[in-house]
């Protein structure tokens, strides 16, 4: 119940903020924009991008180990 009320309040706030730009929840253009955008978002992130992030992160961690090792010597 409380959660629903909160969601409604948030929605009303968004509605108020967006009321003047014609892109709010009741507008055709706003809804279609979000539908297009959302369809791409929902495709998920390609594997190669996730791999890239993993590699960047691993390389950084490896570098830290190397540096830590050097400090210890």
């Amino acid at each position: 119940m409380m959660k629903e009320k909160l969601v409604t309040q948030q929605r009303m706030r968004t509605q108020a903020v967006r009321a003047d730009d014609g892109l709010g929840p009741n507008t055709d253009i706003g809804a279609r924009l979000r539908a297009l955008y959302g369809a791409v978002q929902d495709e998920g992130v390609p594997e190669q991008l996730l791999d890239l992030l993993e590699k960047l992160d691993s390389a950084e961690q490896a570098q830290k180990v190397k540096n830590a090792g050097r400090d210890g010597e």
Binding site: D21, G22, L23, N26, T27, D28, I29, G30, A31, R32, L33, R34, A35, L36, Y37, G38, A39, V40, Q41, D42, E43, G44, V45, P46, Q48, L49, L50, L52, L53, E54, K55, L56, D57, S58, A59, Q61, A62, Q63, K64, V65, A68
Partner: protein, 193 residues
């Protein structure tokens, strides 16, 4: 190329930067598709952005808006690549074209096709403005910062984009006001715009 050893639990800290970046990727990618018009180019652009962002992560303050920061990098990267390459002709169907197999249930595919074409007719600055505000969920202040313009400029771009889209599509701004309000608006279109 890249060393991939000794990655786990070295420092004991969760890599917040990576996690926040991951969370932003779907939206960042959708914005990239809207800019490039093609999925393969969008993915290249996101990849370049991820590498750039990673290289300059020390300049990012944790706790501030990583989404806006990443969008700014991606947008700058896009326009700098465009300047180098020269403006390429966009796909004839406009933006958001390829592999967009999911059509939202409430719209027919022709309907969305028309909308994509209408979006493609907008000047670049108006299109990105209406997408950042209408779809990415940024405030006018954030969008203005991403596009390096004044807040007032951002507001006017969004307003022009909306008017232009309504004009092209011959639709009214409000969809829920019933047939009378809609037809009333349609008949006054030429005068009010």
């Amino acid at each position: 190329m890249l060393a991939v050893t000794g990655s786990d639990g070295v420092t004991g800290e969760p890599t917040t930067f990576k996690r926040e970046m991951l969370a932003t990727l779907p939206s960042l990618r959708a914005f990239a598709v809207s800019l490039t018009g093609k999925h393969d180019k969008a993915d290249d652009l996101v990849q370049d952005t991820v590498m750039k962002a990673w290289a300059k992560q020390s300049s990012f303050e944790m706790g501030t808006n990583i989404k806006a920061w990443l969008f700014t990098i991606l947008r700058n990267e896009f326009y700098s690549q465009m300047r180098k390459r020269g403006r390429e002709v966009q796909d004839s169907d406009g933006i958001f074209t390829e592999r967009l197999s999911v059509h939202p249930a409430q719209y027919g595919s022709m309907d969305m096709q028309d909308f994509k074409k209408a979006l493609a007719q907008l000047p670049d600055d108006q299109r990105e403005a209406v997408i950042l505000i209408g779809a990415s969920g940024f405030s006018y202040e954030e969008a203005a910062e991403i596009c390096d313009c004044a807040v007032g400029t951002m507001k006017s771009r969004v307003s022009r984009a909306r008017t232009r889209l309504q004009d092209i599509l011959k639709i009214s701004g409000e969809a829920d006001y019933g047939p009378d309000a809609v037809s009333a608006q349609v008949t006054t279109t030429n005068h009010s715009f």
